[in-house]
């Protein structure tokens, strides 16, 4: 598999799912209980924020790459990525 830049969305989602899985696994054998009405909204908000942050980071990365390409090829005009 190819190594790629750190993927924030995957990281946050992975942590979230592993954490919740552990919590429910532990909860099945102990008295520890998650408040069910907050689990799903929380997951959606966290994933959404992670996606937002991730796309802003990716955008900045793209802009940086574009800037360096533009510098290398002085007057090669490229359209901005959208």
């Amino acid at each position: 598999m190819r190594k790629h830049p750190f993927d924030l969305l995957s990281f946050v989602a992975g942590l979230l799912f592993v954490g919740l899985a552990l919590a429910y696994g532990i909860g099945a054998y102990t008295d520890v209980r998650l408040e069910p009405q907050y689990v799903f909204p929380l997951v959606l908000v966290v994933l959404g924020l992670a996606g937002l942050a991730g796309s802003i980071l990716a955008q900045q990365r793209n802009d940086r790459v574009l800037a360096s390409v533009a510098q290398d090829t002085a007057d090669v005009r490229t359209q901005p990525l959208r």
């Binding site: 598999m1 190819r2 190594k3 790629h4 750190f6 993927d7 969305l9 995957s10 990281f11 989602a13 992975g14 942590l15 979230l16 799912f17 592993v18 954490g19 919740l20 899985a21 552990l22 919590a23 429910y24 696994g25 909860g27 099945a28 998650l34 069910p36 009405q37 907050y38 689990v39 799903f40 909204p41 997951v43 959606l44 908000v45 994933l47 959404g48 924020l49 996606g51 937002l52 796309s55 802003i56 955008q59 793209n62 802009d63 790459v65 390409v69 290398d72 090829t73 002085a74 007057d75 090669v76 005009r77 490229t78 359209q79 901005p80 990525l81 959208r82």
Partner: protein
């Protein structure tokens, strides 16, 4: 290569091959056959169905929960009109934006804000506040997600080909270098050779750097190389991380489920499900550094939803006790001990045929359980019966007591009845996770 092989700017520039026209028309709001803004007509044409169907669906959705209205407004905002390159939303943003990169950010921020508003609405007005997100509001949420996906998929191929065009021909650098070197003096042969090499090198270097330049003029039969413009990002390698993770999650859940069903280990359903969620999460964590597996989120979310729901079920719910109807009629105290178990279905435990040793005053334990369904226990006359009835969700009806319903209750009582001085005692322990429980004398 001689000096006159310098690139002729734009001489034989061949545009990159255009992608074949898709059979499906682009998703556009129609100008004709419209009622309001042409959203329904456009969607219907895109889907290849009658606009009336789309309108009826929208109206029904508008009446039940109002999501039809919201979808229509979203469609009006984000679907461009026929012959118009940009949608209303894009035009709105276009007016106020400064650098090109903000468009996307604004769109995403707007989407998140909209999502939060919808979430808050669902949280406060959802018909099932206890199990948030699974009530009638979930259809709205689902529609939003599906609608967003459809819009994204519909607009993706069009913007993919149109948003990026090859850079314009860089005439200045590659043309100027050979021009400079094409001024040799006749007396300077060595220098000519030297400069021509430099010129060739310049061209080659420029070519290798990915310049789309004007082709080699003057060579008959020599096809001008198709310009290979630098793509916006490196082509994405297909990653099998997601597939591997999904398979691993299935194997994990299947194995745990089988172990539970076979009675090898008593594994609650919530553990089986959360193990799947955990494996998917681990795959995502791997995808943080190598491979691509973001779509696992779409898989883990519904699985998590089921996990949350199953975790709400009473903790005494176990899988693997069978499905169907049962009538248990033990005849000896040993056989009556049980434990009698049924997973899903109705069961009856008839203790009237049990023959106790004459003159016995011993206590005989009897236990029976049904996970989902109904359990009726018929106790014999002339025997002391101590009842311990546990019910996760449903009704408990014990003779001599008023019928009660609720969640996670336990009733400990003694059945009424005429019992002789020297009579055996039945210690009856009954348990129904979801369903009704009834204990009575014959």
């Amino acid at each position: 290569m001689t000096q006159n092989t310098g690139p002729v700017p734009g001489a034989s520039y061949a545009p990159p091959p255009t992608t074949p026209i898709e059979p499906r028309p682009p998703l556009r709001r129609v100008r004709t056959d419209r009622v309001l803004a042409g959203v329904a007509g456009g969607v219907a044409r895109w889907l290849g169905i009658d606009p009336v169907i789309v309108r009826v669906v929208l109206v029904i959705l508008a009446i039940f929960g109002g999501s039809g209205l919201l979808l229509y407004v979203l469609g009006w905002l984000f679907i461009p009109e026929e012959g118009d390159p940009s949608s209303e939303a894009e035009k709105l943003i276009e007016r106020g934006r400064q650098p090109g990169s903000t468009t996307r950010t604004v769109l995403i921020v707007g989407g998140v804000v909209l999502g939060v508003i919808v979430l808050v609405n669902l949280l406060s007005f959802g018909p099932m506040n206890g199990v948030w997100g699974f009530g009638g509001g979930s259809s709205l949420l689902l529609l939003l997600i599906v609608g967003g996906l459809v819009l994204w998929l519909a607009n993706r191929p069009a913007s993919g080909t149109a948003a990026w065009t090859p850079p314009s021909v860089p005439s200045a650098p590659s043309a100027s270098a050979p021009t400079d070197s094409t001024t040799p003096t006749a007396a300077d042969h060595d220098a000519v050779a030297l400069t021509s090499t430099t010129a060739a090198d310049t061209v080659t270097a420029a070519d290798a750097a990915g310049f789309a330049y004007g082709g080699y003029g003057g060579y008959p039969g020599y096809a001008a190389p198709v310009p290979t413009p630098t793509p916006p990002s490196a082509p994405r390698q297909r990653s099998y991380l997601g597939l591997a993770t999904m398979s691993l999650a299935l194997v994990t859940m299947g194995t745990l489920g089988a172990l539970s069903m076979a009675g090898v280990a008593n594994i609650p359903a919530v553990v089986v499900l959360s193990a799947g969620v955990g494996v998917l999460g681990l795959g995502l964590l791997v995808g943080t550094i190598v491979g691509r597996a973001r779509w696992l989120i779409a898989l883990a979310l519904p699985l998590l939803m089921v996990t949350v729901l199953v975790a709400l079920l009473p903790s005494n719910l176990r899988l693997g006790n069978g499905i169907g109807e049962r009538v248990w009629t033990p005849t000896t105290p040993a056989a009556a001990a049980g434990p009698f178990r049924l997973g899903i279905g109705d069961a009856e435990l008839d203790l009237t045929d049990v023959v106790f040793p004459a003159g016995s005053t011993a206590t005989y334990p009897v236990s029976a359980s049904v996970d989902v369904g109904e359990l009726r226990v018929i106790a014999p006359e002339g025997v002391t019966v101590l009842v311990t009835a546990t019910n996760g969700l449903g009704e408990i009806t014990v003779e001599g007591l008023p019928r009660t319903s609720g969640q996670d209750r336990q009733i400990i009582t003694e059945l009424p009845g005429i019992v002789p001085e020297s009579a055996p005692t039945i210690d009856l322990i009954v348990d129904v996770a979801v369903g009704n429980l009834e204990v009575s004398r014959a």
